[in-house]
Amino acid sequence: MTDLVMPKFGLTMTEGLLTEWHVAPGEAFRAGDILFTVETEKVANDVEAEADGVLAEIVVPEGETVPVGNPVARLASAKDDAGSTGEQTKSARPDQAPHPAADTEDAPSARKLMAEHDLAREQVTPTGRNGRVTKGDVLRVIATPLARSLATKEGLDLHRVEGTGPMGRIKARDVEAAAKLSTSHQPGPVTKAEPAHARQIVPDAARLATARRVSAAKRDIPHFYVTHEAELSALTALRRQLNADADGPRVTVTHMLIRALGVALTEHPAMNRIWAGDHIIAFSQVDIGMVTQTPGGLRIPVIRDAGRTALDDIAAQARDLAERARSGRLGASDVGDGVISISNVGMMGVTSLTPIINPPNAMILGVGAERQLFRPDETGAPALRREMTLTLACDHRIIDGVDAARFLADLVALLETPLRLLRPARGTADPNAGE
């Protein structure tokens, strides 16, 4: 038997919320199967099995937050199972697991709970994706007695109220806040009939997680923004030349931006830091997050060591990460850390994007569409230019305006003299060099 522990996704992760078990106790799994989902302040991550085995016992139920490294389950390896005692074999044989509704899509833990508590599926309100019953739907809500009686009076479902008390306990103030919200934001199903042109939709777990994370980021991080136009004629020409070579990987503007950020951050080591509550973390390599829209919501895979990685390798890495993000196959080492993410919405034709920082990052770069326009040249005559608007959002707790402005200007200079992207970065990546 071995312990399955809470993984660490990134330097600042101290604990993770185990949101969902995908395997029930006693169930066998194969290497690569998704075992459970963890939500951190950054993203929701699926944890895959590294080898074949059997989930012997769940130690941490869904909905609980545990420190990194704590056991979340006990595993029996496939070999253990074959040679185990009769008792263990019995509990580990998936075909004997008492799952009355095993043919539904419901979370295994939810099915088990419903069976234990003799609950019919109809008695539980499913909130999971595609109408799945999650364990949280079955589990009782932790709320103070006063919160409960208030919720009854207000006609509020406590499952929909977020608790702010210790260990997420729902207190009276939470019910009052939720009641206020529901009366101010909804057409008011209690007071008048719902209009035909609107309906209520229960958000899925990924949407809720994103909502929580961005709310926290916008609330807790004092954002400020600097904006700069980049002239892209040279960059476009270089990219065309590179892509004319059919043997090399296809390079996109995003790849070049990631490389440029890698070089710029290496040359500005003082910017390669994040604010971590009561201390600062300085990184010695440059990791850059790439905001990726996937069917399961936003994911932010990270390009590693962009300061010392050649443009072609960045392009290959980024393409692989984006593809795995879209197919939901990101691993633990593919996310977390880094000081900056890049969010490119240029393909939609929008001029600029003012993004929200992705904690624990200190910056995020919003990238707009390339566009052609006339600018006066030295003689005042109109000259055709290709430009792109870059908006850098910064955490003012660790970055001051002038530093941000200088950094963005240097980034733009790199993009405007793009051959430098093919050279190694200048200076050193020593995190203390900027002091």
């Binding site: 103070t144 007695p145 006063l146 008390g165 210790p166 207190k171 009276a172």
Partner: protein, 324 residues
């Protein structure tokens, strides 16, 4: 309205009661010629004579037994037990005789006696002279227990205890004996079983009695600086206690802390908490937190005793927990 000390208020109550009722007499160790170890009976021997201020031998069992017998025959004895720790020796008389007489005699007799005794630490008097044992008495049907927190209450509760037809244990806090406070000119008994809101507040209730009342007021002052309005209740009477007042307060504040100097485990606070968790359940918006001494004998040395005795900061911490 005159300012007086707690111990003087006790003395005044004894004198007024003896003046008002010739069946009232005092019995205890060193209460006559010496005027009491804490001077509660000062000058009373001179004023009322040895027939009514009786210096007893050093035998708490005998003192209490005499008082129970005298009370059953129509007198109103007021016993002084020098330290509450010594009431262990009075227990048989109190628990098996005084507390039972009324019901065992079918209501044809009662024991209108009072037993005054000081509890509490803070004087470096050691483990055998600092205990707060009021919960023992409160657990016995047939006994009443009061615990005044200030001079005016010391007077009023003692007068009510002496007037009461049943045995009443008056627990005085020895650290409060020097406390100054106003004693009204028209001094009246204070009804046993009724508490008092010392300080009104809307966010949390602290129930306390005796020396813990002042600690609770200090804690409320601290919380007020943070905008948290704490209501402080002085129970005054422990058995019976003012359940209605506490419930009414909890219904407004929804958060409850119970504080006393006695050991927390199995104490008076446990009873109040259990009752409120029952009848006040739907009013609770946080855990009910108790503040009391740790489950250990009171230490002798000053530093250790200071650490052992509950104080305002512990009440503040308890308030923060229930309000979290």
């Amino acid at each position: 309205m005159a300012e007086t000390r707690y111990i003087k208020a006790v003395n005044q109550a004894l004198a007024d009661a003896m003046e008002a009722d010739p069946t009232v007499f005092l019995i205890g160790e060193d209460i006559g010629a010496a005027g009491g170890s804490f001077k509660a009976t000062r000058d009373l021997l001179e004023r009322f004579g040895p027939e009514r201020v009786y210096d007893s031998p050093i035998s708490e069992a005998a003192i209490t037994g005499m008082a129970v017998g005298a009370a059953l025959t129509g007198m109103r004895p007021v016993v002084e037990i020098m330290f509450m720790d010594f009431t262990t020796l009075s227990m048989d008389m109190l628990v098996n005789q005084a507390a039972k007489a009324r019901s065992m005699f079918g209501g044809q007799g009662s024991v209108p006696m009072v037993l005054r005794t000081p509890h509490g630490g803070g004087l470096n008097a050691g483990p055998q002279h600092s205990q707060c044992l009021e919960a023992w008495f409160a657990h016995v049907p047939g006994l009443r227990v009061v615990c005044p927190s200030n001079p005016a209450d010391a007077y009023g509760l003692l007068r009510a205890a002496i007037d009461d037809p049943d045995p009443v244990i008056v627990v005085e806090n020895k650290a409060l004996y020097a406390m100054k406070g106003d004693l009204p000119d028209d001094r009246e008994p204070i009804e046993i079983g009724k508490g008092r809101i010392v300080r009104p507040g809307r966010d949390a209730t602290v129930v306390s009695y005796g020396a813990a009342v002042a600690m609770a007021e200090t804690a409320a002052e601290t919380m007020a600086k943070e905008g948290v309005e704490v209501e402080v209740i002085d129970l005054r009477s422990i058995q019976p206690w003012d359940e209605g007042l506490v419930l009414e307060s909890l219904t407004r504040t929804h958060n409850l802390v119970v504080a006393h100097e006695a050991v927390e485990a199995f104490g008076v606070g446990a009873e109040i908490v259990a009752r409120m968790a029952d009848i006040g359940f739907d009013q609770l918006d946080g855990p009910i937190v108790r503040v009391g001494a740790p489950f250990a004998p009171s230490p002798f040395g000053k530093t250790l005793e200071d650490a052992y005795r509950p104080d305002a900061s512990q009440i503040v911490a308890a308030l923060r927990r229930t309000l979290a």
